[in-house]
Protein backbone atom coordinates (compact mmCIF):
# COMPACT_ATOMS: atom_id res chain seq x y z
CA UNK A 1 0.00 0.00 0.00
CA UNK A 2 1.44 3.34 -0.95
CA UNK A 3 1.42 6.09 1.61
CA UNK A 4 -0.60 8.29 -0.70
CA UNK A 5 -3.60 6.04 -0.36
CA UNK A 6 -3.77 6.25 3.43
CA UNK A 7 -6.22 8.76 4.74
CA UNK A 8 -4.11 10.25 7.46
CA UNK A 9 -0.48 10.18 6.44
CA UNK A 10 1.90 9.58 9.31
CA UNK A 11 4.69 12.11 8.95
CA UNK A 12 8.24 10.95 8.83
CA UNK A 13 9.52 11.09 12.39
CA UNK A 14 13.01 11.89 11.22
CA UNK A 15 11.92 15.16 9.69
CA UNK A 16 9.97 17.12 12.32
CA UNK A 17 10.32 20.22 10.24
CA UNK A 18 7.70 22.82 10.99
CA UNK A 19 7.79 26.54 11.30
CA UNK A 20 5.44 29.08 12.87
CA UNK A 21 5.52 32.53 11.35
CA UNK A 22 3.58 35.17 13.32
CA UNK A 23 2.67 38.46 11.67
CA UNK A 24 0.56 41.40 12.85
CA UNK A 25 -1.95 42.11 10.10
CA UNK A 26 -3.71 45.00 11.83
CA UNK A 27 -3.06 46.44 15.30
CA UNK A 28 -4.02 43.73 17.80
CA UNK A 29 -4.84 41.17 15.11
CA UNK A 30 -2.31 38.48 14.38
CA UNK A 31 -1.96 35.74 11.85
CA UNK A 32 0.32 32.76 12.47
CA UNK A 33 1.31 30.83 9.40
CA UNK A 34 2.02 27.17 10.17
CA UNK A 35 4.36 25.54 7.70
CA UNK A 36 5.89 22.15 7.16
CA UNK A 37 5.24 18.77 8.72
CA UNK A 38 3.65 18.54 12.15
CA UNK A 39 4.45 15.31 13.89
CA UNK A 40 3.44 14.06 17.31
CA UNK A 41 6.99 12.82 17.80
CA UNK A 42 8.02 16.46 17.86
CA UNK A 43 5.00 17.30 20.02
CA UNK A 44 7.01 18.91 22.77
CA UNK A 45 8.69 21.33 20.35
CA UNK A 46 5.34 22.09 18.74
CA UNK A 47 3.65 22.76 22.08
CA UNK A 48 6.42 25.11 23.17
CA UNK A 49 6.37 26.88 19.81
CA UNK A 50 2.60 27.31 20.09
CA UNK A 51 2.93 28.78 23.58
CA UNK A 52 5.74 31.09 22.46
CA UNK A 53 4.06 32.32 19.32
CA UNK A 54 1.24 34.07 21.18
CA UNK A 55 2.36 37.67 21.60
CA UNK A 56 2.17 39.54 24.91
CA UNK A 57 0.03 41.39 25.71
CA UNK A 58 -2.56 38.99 24.32
CA UNK A 59 -3.95 40.09 20.97
CA UNK A 60 -7.65 40.62 20.30
CA UNK A 61 -7.58 38.10 17.50
CA UNK A 62 -5.28 35.38 16.27
CA UNK A 63 -5.67 33.19 13.21
CA UNK A 64 -3.70 30.03 12.53
CA UNK A 65 -3.15 29.80 8.80
CA UNK A 66 -2.79 26.10 8.02
CA UNK A 67 -2.40 26.44 4.26
CA UNK A 68 1.33 25.77 4.51
CA UNK A 69 0.91 22.49 6.40
CA UNK A 70 2.29 19.57 4.43
CA UNK A 71 1.38 16.84 6.87
CA UNK A 72 -0.23 16.64 10.28
CA UNK A 73 -1.14 13.81 12.62
CA UNK A 74 -3.80 13.44 15.28
CA UNK A 75 -1.61 14.30 18.25
CA UNK A 76 -0.31 17.54 16.75
CA UNK A 77 -3.82 18.47 15.67
CA UNK A 78 -5.00 17.99 19.25
CA UNK A 79 -2.28 20.41 20.39
CA UNK A 80 -3.31 22.98 17.78
CA UNK A 81 -6.98 22.72 18.70
CA UNK A 82 -6.23 22.93 22.42
CA UNK A 83 -4.21 26.09 21.80
CA UNK A 84 -7.23 27.65 20.12
CA UNK A 85 -9.53 26.63 22.98
CA UNK A 86 -7.14 28.02 25.60
CA UNK A 87 -6.84 31.31 23.75
CA UNK A 88 -10.62 31.53 23.40
CA UNK A 89 -10.98 30.93 27.11
CA UNK A 90 -8.83 34.01 27.79
CA UNK A 91 -10.94 36.12 25.44
CA UNK A 92 -8.84 35.97 22.30
CA UNK A 93 -10.74 35.52 19.05
CA UNK A 94 -8.97 32.52 17.62
CA UNK A 95 -9.68 30.59 14.45
CA UNK A 96 -8.11 28.30 11.87
CA UNK A 97 -7.89 29.15 8.21
CA UNK A 98 -6.60 27.65 5.02
CA UNK A 99 -6.88 23.97 5.95
CA UNK A 100 -7.42 21.67 3.01
CA UNK A 101 -7.59 17.95 2.35
CA UNK A 102 -6.44 15.71 5.15
CA UNK A 103 -5.65 18.67 7.36
CA UNK A 104 -9.22 19.95 7.07
CA UNK A 105 -10.65 16.51 7.78
CA UNK A 106 -8.49 16.05 10.84
CA UNK A 107 -9.29 19.57 11.98
CA UNK A 108 -13.01 18.92 12.04
CA UNK A 109 -12.49 15.43 13.51
CA UNK A 110 -10.64 17.00 16.43
CA UNK A 111 -13.23 19.71 16.92
CA UNK A 112 -11.15 22.61 15.60
CA UNK A 113 -14.29 24.37 14.39
CA UNK A 114 -16.37 24.05 17.54
CA UNK A 115 -16.12 25.10 21.15
CA UNK A 116 -14.96 22.53 23.67
CA UNK A 117 -17.46 20.68 25.82
CA UNK A 118 -17.48 22.12 29.30
CA UNK A 119 -15.17 20.16 31.58
CA UNK A 120 -16.76 19.24 34.86
CA UNK A 121 -14.70 20.97 37.50
CA UNK A 122 -14.13 18.78 40.52
CA UNK A 123 -13.31 21.17 43.30
CA UNK A 124 -10.76 19.95 45.82
CA UNK A 125 -12.29 20.30 49.28
CA UNK A 126 -10.76 22.79 51.67
CA UNK A 127 -8.82 21.65 54.72
CA UNK A 128 -11.72 21.86 57.17
CA UNK A 129 -14.16 20.32 54.72
CA UNK A 130 -11.62 17.52 54.20
CA UNK A 131 -11.34 16.87 57.93
CA UNK A 132 -15.12 16.91 58.18
CA UNK A 133 -15.54 14.53 55.29
CA UNK A 134 -12.96 12.10 56.73
CA UNK A 135 -14.66 12.18 60.11
CA UNK A 136 -18.01 11.46 58.53
CA UNK A 137 -16.42 8.61 56.58
CA UNK A 138 -15.17 7.09 59.84
CA UNK A 139 -18.59 7.45 61.40
CA UNK A 140 -20.00 5.87 58.27
CA UNK A 141 -17.72 2.87 58.81
CA UNK A 142 -19.14 2.42 62.29
CA UNK A 143 -22.69 2.76 60.97
CA UNK A 144 -21.90 0.28 58.21
CA UNK A 145 -20.65 -2.27 60.71
CA UNK A 146 -23.55 -1.85 63.13
CA UNK A 147 -26.05 -2.06 60.29
CA UNK A 148 -24.27 -5.16 59.03
CA UNK A 149 -24.31 -6.83 62.43
CA UNK A 150 -28.02 -6.12 62.66
CA UNK A 151 -28.70 -7.66 59.28
CA UNK A 152 -26.45 -10.57 60.12
CA UNK A 153 -28.47 -11.33 63.25
CA UNK A 154 -31.62 -11.33 61.12
CA UNK A 155 -29.94 -13.58 58.58
CA UNK A 156 -28.95 -15.92 61.38
CA UNK A 157 -32.60 -16.16 62.33
CA UNK A 158 -33.31 -17.04 58.71
CA UNK A 159 -30.61 -19.68 58.73
CA UNK A 160 -32.10 -21.29 61.83
CA UNK A 161 -35.54 -21.39 60.24
CA UNK A 162 -34.32 -22.55 56.79
CA UNK A 163 -30.98 -24.30 57.24
CA UNK A 164 -31.03 -25.09 53.52
CA UNK A 165 -30.26 -21.47 52.67
CA UNK A 166 -27.02 -21.36 54.63
CA UNK A 167 -24.57 -22.97 52.23
CA UNK A 168 -23.37 -25.49 54.78
CA UNK A 169 -21.31 -27.21 52.11
CA UNK A 170 -18.92 -24.27 52.00
CA UNK A 171 -17.97 -24.58 55.66
CA UNK A 172 -15.56 -27.51 55.43
CA UNK A 173 -13.39 -26.04 52.64
CA UNK A 174 -13.42 -22.70 54.43
CA UNK A 175 -12.28 -24.38 57.63
CA UNK A 176 -9.40 -25.92 55.74
CA UNK A 177 -8.48 -22.58 54.23
CA UNK A 178 -8.73 -20.51 57.39
CA UNK A 179 -7.62 -23.14 59.89
CA UNK A 180 -5.46 -25.93 58.53
CA UNK A 181 -3.64 -23.75 56.01
CA UNK A 182 -2.81 -21.19 58.70
CA UNK A 183 -1.35 -23.78 61.06
CA UNK A 184 2.30 -23.62 59.95
CA UNK A 185 2.59 -19.86 60.27
CA UNK A 186 0.69 -19.81 63.57
CA UNK A 187 2.94 -22.55 64.96
CA UNK A 188 6.08 -20.77 63.86
CA UNK A 189 5.11 -17.34 65.11
CA UNK A 190 3.84 -18.45 68.50
CA UNK A 191 6.89 -20.64 69.05
CA UNK A 192 9.13 -17.65 68.38
CA UNK A 193 7.04 -15.41 70.61
CA UNK A 194 7.32 -17.91 73.45
CA UNK A 195 11.02 -18.29 72.81
CA UNK A 196 11.71 -14.54 72.73
CA UNK A 197 9.61 -13.91 75.82
CA UNK A 198 11.40 -16.69 77.67
CA UNK A 199 14.72 -15.34 76.58
CA UNK A 200 14.02 -11.75 77.63
CA UNK A 201 12.50 -12.66 80.96
CA UNK A 202 15.29 -15.14 81.70
CA UNK A 203 17.82 -12.33 81.56
CA UNK A 204 15.89 -10.42 84.22
CA UNK A 205 14.83 -13.33 86.40
CA UNK A 206 18.31 -14.84 86.45
CA UNK A 207 19.54 -11.78 88.36
CA UNK A 208 17.25 -12.69 91.24
CA UNK A 209 17.92 -16.39 91.00
CA UNK A 210 14.28 -16.84 90.05
CA UNK A 211 14.97 -18.71 86.80
CA UNK A 212 12.18 -21.18 87.29
CA UNK A 213 9.56 -18.41 87.15
CA UNK A 214 10.20 -18.09 83.43
CA UNK A 215 7.70 -20.91 83.14
CA UNK A 216 5.03 -18.88 84.97
CA UNK A 217 5.67 -15.76 82.98
CA UNK A 218 5.68 -17.39 79.58
CA UNK A 219 2.79 -19.71 80.39
CA UNK A 220 0.45 -17.04 81.68
CA UNK A 221 1.18 -14.42 79.04
CA UNK A 222 0.93 -16.90 76.21
CA UNK A 223 -2.30 -18.58 77.23
CA UNK A 224 -4.10 -15.47 78.44
CA UNK A 225 -2.92 -12.84 75.97
CA UNK A 226 -0.35 -13.51 73.33
CA UNK A 227 -1.50 -16.88 72.05
CA UNK A 228 -5.00 -15.76 71.14
CA UNK A 229 -3.90 -12.29 70.06
CA UNK A 230 -1.02 -13.33 67.79
CA UNK A 231 -3.13 -16.07 66.24
CA UNK A 232 -5.95 -13.62 65.60
CA UNK A 233 -3.56 -11.10 64.06
CA UNK A 234 -2.24 -13.76 61.70
CA UNK A 235 -5.74 -14.89 60.80
CA UNK A 236 -6.93 -11.35 60.18
CA UNK A 237 -4.00 -10.78 57.83
CA UNK A 238 -4.64 -14.05 56.02
CA UNK A 239 -8.34 -14.79 56.04
CA UNK A 240 -9.75 -11.36 56.88
CA UNK A 241 -7.96 -9.86 53.89
CA UNK A 242 -8.92 -12.82 51.70
CA UNK A 243 -12.61 -12.59 52.62
CA UNK A 244 -12.76 -8.83 52.06
CA UNK A 245 -11.05 -9.12 48.68
CA UNK A 246 -13.18 -12.09 47.64
CA UNK A 247 -16.51 -10.53 48.54
CA UNK A 248 -15.32 -7.16 47.25
CA UNK A 249 -14.53 -8.62 43.85
CA UNK A 250 -17.89 -10.34 43.84
CA UNK A 251 -19.56 -7.02 44.63
CA UNK A 252 -17.90 -5.05 41.87
CA UNK A 253 -18.52 -7.74 39.27
CA UNK A 254 -22.24 -7.82 40.19
CA UNK A 255 -21.98 -11.40 41.45
CA UNK A 256 -23.61 -10.39 44.72
CA UNK A 257 -26.47 -8.80 42.79
CA UNK A 258 -26.78 -11.94 40.70
CA UNK A 259 -26.98 -14.00 43.88
CA UNK A 260 -29.80 -11.81 45.13
CA UNK A 261 -31.72 -12.21 41.90
CA UNK A 262 -31.58 -15.96 42.44
CA UNK A 263 -33.34 -15.43 45.74
CA UNK A 264 -30.23 -16.31 47.71
CA UNK A 265 -29.18 -14.01 50.54
CA UNK A 266 -25.48 -13.11 50.39
CA UNK A 267 -25.37 -12.98 54.18
CA UNK A 268 -26.55 -16.55 54.58
CA UNK A 269 -24.79 -17.89 51.57
CA UNK A 270 -21.42 -16.15 51.80
CA UNK A 271 -21.00 -14.46 55.15
CA UNK A 272 -22.47 -17.07 57.47
CA UNK A 273 -20.11 -19.92 56.47
CA UNK A 274 -17.09 -17.61 56.56
CA UNK A 275 -17.81 -16.22 59.99
CA UNK A 276 -18.63 -19.66 61.29
CA UNK A 277 -15.38 -21.05 59.90
CA UNK A 278 -13.38 -18.36 61.70
CA UNK A 279 -15.27 -18.83 64.95
CA UNK A 280 -14.38 -22.52 64.88
CA UNK A 281 -10.89 -22.26 63.44
CA UNK A 282 -9.53 -19.52 65.64
CA UNK A 283 -9.89 -21.29 69.02
CA UNK A 284 -8.37 -24.42 67.51
CA UNK A 285 -5.44 -22.49 66.09
CA UNK A 286 -5.10 -20.72 69.42
CA UNK A 287 -4.75 -24.06 71.21
CA UNK A 288 -1.90 -25.01 68.91
CA UNK A 289 -0.45 -21.54 69.36
CA UNK A 290 -0.57 -21.87 73.15
CA UNK A 291 1.23 -25.19 73.04
CA UNK A 292 3.92 -23.88 70.73
CA UNK A 293 4.41 -20.76 72.83
CA UNK A 294 4.92 -22.88 75.92
CA UNK A 295 7.32 -25.03 73.98
CA UNK A 296 9.29 -21.93 72.98
CA UNK A 297 9.62 -20.99 76.64
CA UNK A 298 10.60 -24.53 77.50
CA UNK A 299 13.42 -24.47 74.96
CA UNK A 300 14.82 -21.33 76.58
CA UNK A 301 14.44 -22.81 80.04
CA UNK A 302 16.22 -26.00 79.12
CA UNK A 303 18.91 -24.61 76.86
CA UNK A 304 19.70 -21.28 78.51
CA UNK A 305 18.78 -21.77 82.13
CA UNK A 306 19.74 -25.42 82.45
CA UNK A 307 16.36 -26.28 83.90
CA UNK A 308 15.20 -29.84 83.47
CA UNK A 309 12.22 -30.50 81.25
CA UNK A 310 10.32 -32.00 84.16
CA UNK A 311 11.03 -29.05 86.40
CA UNK A 312 9.86 -26.62 83.73
CA UNK A 313 6.70 -28.55 83.02
CA UNK A 314 5.87 -29.00 86.69
CA UNK A 315 6.31 -25.31 87.28
CA UNK A 316 4.13 -24.53 84.25
CA UNK A 317 1.37 -26.78 85.49
CA UNK A 318 1.54 -25.21 88.91
CA UNK A 319 1.24 -21.73 87.44
CA UNK A 320 -1.52 -22.43 84.93
CA UNK A 321 -5.01 -23.61 85.50
CA UNK A 322 -7.68 -24.53 82.97
CA UNK A 323 -9.28 -21.12 83.23
CA UNK A 324 -6.13 -19.45 81.90
CA UNK A 325 -6.36 -21.44 78.70
CA UNK A 326 -10.11 -21.18 78.59
CA UNK A 327 -10.21 -17.41 78.83
CA UNK A 328 -7.85 -17.27 75.88
CA UNK A 329 -10.23 -19.49 73.93
CA UNK A 330 -13.19 -17.26 74.78
CA UNK A 331 -11.23 -14.36 73.41
CA UNK A 332 -10.39 -16.37 70.30
CA UNK A 333 -14.07 -17.02 69.59
CA UNK A 334 -14.88 -13.33 69.82
CA UNK A 335 -11.81 -12.47 67.76
CA UNK A 336 -12.93 -14.86 65.04
CA UNK A 337 -16.42 -13.39 65.06
CA UNK A 338 -15.17 -9.85 64.76
CA UNK A 339 -12.58 -10.59 62.05
CA UNK A 340 -15.22 -12.39 60.00
CA UNK A 341 -17.90 -9.75 60.42
CA UNK A 342 -15.57 -6.83 59.72
CA UNK A 343 -14.01 -8.45 56.65
CA UNK A 344 -17.33 -9.48 55.16
CA UNK A 345 -18.97 -6.13 55.89
CA UNK A 346 -16.14 -4.35 54.12
CA UNK A 347 -16.21 -6.78 51.23
CA UNK A 348 -19.94 -6.42 50.65
CA UNK A 349 -19.71 -2.62 50.85
CA UNK A 350 -17.17 -2.48 48.03
CA UNK A 351 -17.81 -0.23 45.05
CA UNK A 352 -15.54 1.24 42.44
CA UNK A 353 -13.62 -1.50 40.68
CA UNK A 354 -10.21 -2.93 41.47
CA UNK A 355 -9.17 0.11 43.45
CA UNK A 356 -12.26 -0.18 45.60
CA UNK A 357 -11.39 -3.80 46.37
CA UNK A 358 -7.92 -2.76 47.47
CA UNK A 359 -9.24 0.02 49.64
CA UNK A 360 -11.85 -2.15 51.32
CA UNK A 361 -9.31 -4.92 51.94
CA UNK A 362 -6.96 -2.46 53.60
CA UNK A 363 -9.78 -1.06 55.71
CA UNK A 364 -10.86 -4.56 56.67
CA UNK A 365 -7.42 -5.51 57.98
CA UNK A 366 -6.76 -2.21 59.74
CA UNK A 367 -10.20 -2.14 61.33
CA UNK A 368 -9.99 -5.71 62.52
CA UNK A 369 -6.52 -5.22 64.01
CA UNK A 370 -7.87 -2.22 65.88
CA UNK A 371 -10.91 -4.18 66.98
CA UNK A 372 -8.73 -7.07 68.17
CA UNK A 373 -6.67 -4.85 70.45
CA UNK A 374 -9.79 -3.14 71.75
CA UNK A 375 -11.59 -6.41 72.44
CA UNK A 376 -8.51 -7.88 74.07
CA UNK A 377 -8.19 -4.88 76.38
CA UNK A 378 -11.87 -5.03 77.23
CA UNK A 379 -11.65 -8.73 78.08
CA UNK A 380 -8.53 -8.34 80.17
CA UNK A 381 -10.06 -5.53 82.21
CA UNK A 382 -13.36 -7.38 82.61
CA UNK A 383 -11.71 -10.61 83.72
CA UNK A 384 -9.52 -8.70 86.11
CA UNK A 385 -12.40 -6.77 87.66
CA UNK A 386 -14.44 -9.94 87.95
CA UNK A 387 -11.51 -11.36 89.86
CA UNK A 388 -11.04 -14.25 87.46
Amino acid sequence: MSSASTDFAIPDAAAPAFHLAPRETEPGRWAVRVEGRLSFDAGRALWQALLAVVPTPPPTALTFDLSGVEAVDGGSMALLVQTRWSLQATGVECAFAGATGTTARLLSLYGGDVSPAAEVAVAAPGFLAGVGARTLERLDEVRLLLDFVGRMVRALGGVLRHPGTANVRAIAPLLARTGADALPIVVLVTFLIGFVMGFQSAVQLEQFGADIYVADLVGLSITRELGPLMTAIIVSGRSGAAFAAELGTMSVSEEIDALRTLGIGPLRFLVFPRVLALVVALPLLTLFGDLMGLFGGLVVGVVNLDLSITAYLTQSLRALDVWDVFQGLIKAVVFGLSIGLIACAQGLATTGGAEGVGRRTTTAVVTSLFALILIDAAFTVTFHMAGL
Binding site: G164, M250, S253, A258, R260, T261, G263, I264
Partner: protein, 248 residues
Protein backbone atom coordinates in the same frame (compact mmCIF):
# COMPACT_ATOMS: atom_id res chain seq x y z
CA UNK B 1 -56.65 -8.02 27.44
CA UNK B 2 -55.31 -9.20 30.79
CA UNK B 3 -53.64 -6.87 33.25
CA UNK B 4 -50.01 -5.98 32.50
CA UNK B 5 -47.30 -8.06 34.10
CA UNK B 6 -45.04 -5.16 35.02
CA UNK B 7 -46.37 -1.70 35.76
CA UNK B 8 -43.99 1.22 36.09
CA UNK B 9 -45.46 4.42 37.48
CA UNK B 10 -43.74 7.82 37.51
CA UNK B 11 -40.34 6.30 37.95
CA UNK B 12 -37.26 8.48 38.53
CA UNK B 13 -33.75 7.10 38.34
CA UNK B 14 -30.23 8.37 38.86
CA UNK B 15 -26.86 7.92 40.48
CA UNK B 16 -25.64 10.44 43.04
CA UNK B 17 -26.30 13.89 41.64
CA UNK B 18 -27.06 12.65 38.14
CA UNK B 19 -30.69 12.22 37.14
CA UNK B 20 -31.15 9.79 34.28
CA UNK B 21 -34.91 9.46 34.05
CA UNK B 22 -37.82 11.40 35.48
CA UNK B 23 -41.47 10.48 35.82
CA UNK B 24 -41.43 7.60 33.39
CA UNK B 25 -44.46 5.36 33.19
CA UNK B 26 -44.95 2.27 31.05
CA UNK B 27 -46.32 -1.23 31.18
CA UNK B 28 -45.05 -4.60 30.08
CA UNK B 29 -47.67 -7.08 28.95
CA UNK B 30 -47.67 -10.78 29.66
CA UNK B 31 -45.89 -12.87 27.11
CA UNK B 32 -44.41 -10.04 25.11
CA UNK B 33 -40.83 -9.32 24.15
CA UNK B 34 -40.20 -5.85 25.42
CA UNK B 35 -37.04 -3.86 24.80
CA UNK B 36 -35.41 -0.95 26.59
CA UNK B 37 -33.50 1.01 23.98
CA UNK B 38 -31.35 4.10 23.92
CA UNK B 39 -27.84 5.40 23.50
CA UNK B 40 -24.99 3.97 25.52
CA UNK B 41 -24.96 5.44 29.01
CA UNK B 42 -28.57 6.64 28.95
CA UNK B 43 -29.58 4.44 31.86
CA UNK B 44 -30.89 1.19 30.44
CA UNK B 45 -29.01 -1.04 32.85
CA UNK B 46 -29.98 1.34 35.65
CA UNK B 47 -33.63 0.95 34.67
CA UNK B 48 -33.23 -2.82 34.69
CA UNK B 49 -31.78 -2.62 38.20
CA UNK B 50 -34.88 -0.74 39.31
CA UNK B 51 -37.24 -3.17 37.54
CA UNK B 52 -35.57 -6.14 39.21
CA UNK B 53 -35.50 -4.52 42.64
CA UNK B 54 -31.72 -4.38 42.89
CA UNK B 55 -31.82 -0.62 43.47
CA UNK B 56 -34.89 1.04 44.88
CA UNK B 57 -36.09 3.82 42.54
CA UNK B 58 -35.74 7.43 43.65
CA UNK B 59 -39.40 8.07 43.10
CA UNK B 60 -42.26 6.17 41.65
CA UNK B 61 -43.24 2.53 41.72
CA UNK B 62 -42.49 -0.71 39.98
CA UNK B 63 -45.05 -3.44 40.36
CA UNK B 64 -44.93 -6.99 39.15
CA UNK B 65 -48.35 -8.61 38.99
CA UNK B 66 -48.81 -11.06 41.81
CA UNK B 67 -45.56 -10.07 43.52
CA UNK B 68 -45.89 -6.35 44.18
CA UNK B 69 -42.76 -4.26 44.23
CA UNK B 70 -39.71 -6.40 43.42
CA UNK B 71 -37.77 -6.73 46.66
CA UNK B 72 -35.35 -9.62 46.17
CA UNK B 73 -36.01 -11.15 49.53
CA UNK B 74 -34.64 -14.59 50.23
CA UNK B 75 -36.94 -17.06 48.55
CA UNK B 76 -37.65 -18.63 45.21
CA UNK B 77 -37.36 -15.75 42.73
CA UNK B 78 -40.26 -15.03 40.41
CA UNK B 79 -38.04 -13.81 37.58
CA UNK B 80 -34.63 -14.42 36.10
CA UNK B 81 -31.98 -11.77 35.51
CA UNK B 82 -29.02 -11.83 33.18
CA UNK B 83 -26.41 -9.14 33.85
CA UNK B 84 -24.66 -7.19 31.14
CA UNK B 85 -21.26 -8.66 31.99
CA UNK B 86 -22.63 -12.08 32.92
CA UNK B 87 -21.78 -11.90 36.63
CA UNK B 88 -21.14 -15.64 36.78
CA UNK B 89 -19.91 -16.85 40.14
CA UNK B 90 -16.19 -17.16 39.63
CA UNK B 91 -15.68 -19.76 42.32
CA UNK B 92 -18.10 -22.22 40.72
CA UNK B 93 -18.11 -24.07 37.43
CA UNK B 94 -20.57 -23.11 34.72
CA UNK B 95 -22.73 -26.09 35.63
CA UNK B 96 -22.74 -25.16 39.32
CA UNK B 97 -23.73 -21.63 38.37
CA UNK B 98 -26.81 -22.94 36.61
CA UNK B 99 -27.51 -25.54 39.27
CA UNK B 100 -27.32 -23.22 42.27
CA UNK B 101 -30.89 -21.92 42.16
CA UNK B 102 -32.20 -25.40 41.36
CA UNK B 103 -30.43 -26.87 44.37
CA UNK B 104 -31.63 -24.10 46.63
CA UNK B 105 -35.22 -23.77 45.53
CA UNK B 106 -36.35 -27.16 44.26
CA UNK B 107 -36.46 -30.59 45.87
CA UNK B 108 -35.14 -32.31 42.77
CA UNK B 109 -32.59 -35.07 43.27
CA UNK B 110 -29.06 -34.41 42.07
CA UNK B 111 -29.44 -36.46 38.90
CA UNK B 112 -32.54 -34.52 37.86
CA UNK B 113 -30.78 -31.23 38.51
CA UNK B 114 -27.87 -32.40 36.39
CA UNK B 115 -30.28 -33.22 33.58
CA UNK B 116 -31.90 -29.80 33.77
CA UNK B 117 -28.54 -28.06 33.84
CA UNK B 118 -27.48 -29.98 30.76
CA UNK B 119 -30.71 -29.06 29.00
CA UNK B 120 -30.39 -25.37 29.87
CA UNK B 121 -26.81 -25.25 28.66
CA UNK B 122 -27.82 -27.01 25.46
CA UNK B 123 -30.47 -24.38 24.93
CA UNK B 124 -27.84 -21.65 24.80
CA UNK B 125 -25.35 -23.72 22.83
CA UNK B 126 -23.00 -24.52 25.69
CA UNK B 127 -23.46 -28.25 25.89
CA UNK B 128 -20.34 -29.83 27.32
CA UNK B 129 -19.14 -26.68 29.05
CA UNK B 130 -20.65 -27.48 32.44
CA UNK B 131 -17.34 -28.46 34.01
CA UNK B 132 -15.51 -25.28 32.93
CA UNK B 133 -14.73 -22.34 35.17
CA UNK B 134 -16.31 -19.06 34.03
CA UNK B 135 -12.83 -17.64 33.56
CA UNK B 136 -12.22 -20.30 30.90
CA UNK B 137 -15.12 -19.06 28.75
CA UNK B 138 -15.04 -16.43 26.04
CA UNK B 139 -17.04 -13.22 26.50
CA UNK B 140 -19.92 -14.46 24.37
CA UNK B 141 -19.96 -17.85 26.07
CA UNK B 142 -20.17 -16.15 29.46
CA UNK B 143 -23.23 -14.24 28.32
CA UNK B 144 -24.91 -17.39 27.16
CA UNK B 145 -24.05 -19.19 30.40
CA UNK B 146 -25.60 -16.28 32.29
CA UNK B 147 -28.77 -16.66 30.22
CA UNK B 148 -28.88 -20.35 31.06
CA UNK B 149 -28.54 -19.47 34.74
CA UNK B 150 -31.35 -16.92 34.51
CA UNK B 151 -33.57 -19.54 32.87
CA UNK B 152 -32.70 -22.25 35.38
CA UNK B 153 -35.87 -22.08 37.46
CA UNK B 154 -38.05 -21.58 34.40
CA UNK B 155 -39.33 -18.17 35.51
CA UNK B 156 -42.32 -16.61 33.74
CA UNK B 157 -40.43 -13.33 33.41
CA UNK B 158 -36.83 -12.75 32.45
CA UNK B 159 -34.66 -9.64 32.24
CA UNK B 160 -31.75 -9.73 29.82
CA UNK B 161 -29.14 -6.97 29.66
CA UNK B 162 -27.59 -7.02 26.18
CA UNK B 163 -27.81 -10.77 25.65
CA UNK B 164 -26.56 -10.75 22.07
CA UNK B 165 -23.89 -8.06 22.08
CA UNK B 166 -20.49 -9.60 21.55
CA UNK B 167 -21.94 -12.72 19.97
CA UNK B 168 -21.10 -13.79 16.46
CA UNK B 169 -23.98 -13.28 14.00
CA UNK B 170 -24.96 -16.94 13.95
CA UNK B 171 -25.08 -17.29 17.74
CA UNK B 172 -26.92 -13.97 17.97
CA UNK B 173 -29.49 -15.23 15.48
CA UNK B 174 -29.88 -18.50 17.36
CA UNK B 175 -30.34 -16.58 20.58
CA UNK B 176 -33.07 -14.48 18.98
CA UNK B 177 -34.71 -17.68 17.87
CA UNK B 178 -34.45 -19.11 21.38
CA UNK B 179 -35.98 -16.02 22.94
CA UNK B 180 -38.84 -16.03 20.49
CA UNK B 181 -39.45 -19.74 20.93
CA UNK B 182 -39.53 -19.43 24.70
CA UNK B 183 -41.84 -16.45 24.46
CA UNK B 184 -44.25 -17.98 21.96
CA UNK B 185 -44.07 -21.53 23.20
CA UNK B 186 -44.03 -21.06 26.96
CA UNK B 187 -45.53 -17.60 27.30
CA UNK B 188 -42.30 -16.27 28.78
CA UNK B 189 -42.21 -12.50 29.15
CA UNK B 190 -38.87 -11.10 28.08
CA UNK B 191 -37.56 -7.66 28.99
CA UNK B 192 -34.32 -6.98 27.22
CA UNK B 193 -31.79 -4.26 26.65
CA UNK B 194 -30.13 -4.48 23.29
CA UNK B 195 -28.39 -2.46 20.63
CA UNK B 196 -28.57 -5.12 17.95
CA UNK B 197 -30.83 -3.67 15.27
CA UNK B 198 -31.44 -6.98 13.46
CA UNK B 199 -32.46 -8.56 16.71
CA UNK B 200 -34.67 -5.62 17.65
CA UNK B 201 -36.55 -5.77 14.35
CA UNK B 202 -36.73 -9.55 14.39
CA UNK B 203 -38.13 -10.25 17.84
CA UNK B 204 -39.04 -7.13 19.81
CA UNK B 205 -42.74 -6.40 19.91
CA UNK B 206 -42.70 -3.18 21.90
CA UNK B 207 -40.01 -0.90 23.21
CA UNK B 208 -39.33 2.25 25.14
CA UNK B 209 -36.60 4.55 23.89
CA UNK B 210 -34.78 6.35 26.71
CA UNK B 211 -33.09 9.69 26.26
CA UNK B 212 -30.56 11.02 28.68
CA UNK B 213 -30.75 14.68 27.62
CA UNK B 214 -34.48 15.01 28.22
CA UNK B 215 -34.45 12.40 31.03
CA UNK B 216 -37.55 10.88 29.57
CA UNK B 217 -38.95 8.15 27.36
CA UNK B 218 -38.54 9.72 23.95
CA UNK B 219 -40.58 7.19 22.03
CA UNK B 220 -42.42 3.94 22.61
CA UNK B 221 -44.13 1.29 20.57
CA UNK B 222 -43.27 -1.21 17.85
CA UNK B 223 -39.65 -0.66 16.81
CA UNK B 224 -40.43 -1.33 13.13
CA UNK B 225 -43.05 1.37 13.16
CA UNK B 226 -40.76 3.76 15.01
CA UNK B 227 -38.02 3.14 12.48
CA UNK B 228 -40.26 4.08 9.60
CA UNK B 229 -42.32 6.86 11.09
CA UNK B 230 -40.68 8.43 14.12
CA UNK B 231 -39.65 11.99 13.22
CA UNK B 232 -37.41 12.51 16.26
CA UNK B 233 -33.77 12.71 15.13
CA UNK B 234 -32.37 10.66 18.04
CA UNK B 235 -34.80 7.81 17.40
CA UNK B 236 -34.40 8.01 13.64
CA UNK B 237 -30.60 7.86 13.83
CA UNK B 238 -30.73 4.95 16.26
CA UNK B 239 -32.98 2.78 14.13
CA UNK B 240 -31.28 3.68 10.86
CA UNK B 241 -27.73 3.50 12.20
CA UNK B 242 -26.83 7.02 11.11
CA UNK B 243 -25.53 10.06 12.92
CA UNK B 244 -26.35 13.73 12.51
CA UNK B 245 -24.34 15.31 9.72
CA UNK B 246 -22.37 12.32 8.55
CA UNK B 247 -22.85 9.52 6.12
CA UNK B 248 -20.40 6.63 6.09
Amino acid sequence: MSAPLVTVTELSLGWGETVLLEDASFEIERGEIFAVLGASGCGKSTLLRALTGLDPPRHGRVEIAGTGAPTLSVGRPSYGVMFQAGALFGSMTVGENVALALETWTDLPAAAIAAIVRARLRLVGLEGCAHLAPSALSGGMRKRAAIARALALEPPLIFLDEPSSGLDPVSAFELDLLIRTLSEGLGLTVVLVTHELPSIFAIVQRCVFLDRASRSILARGDPRVLRDTCPLPAVHHFFNRTSPGSSP
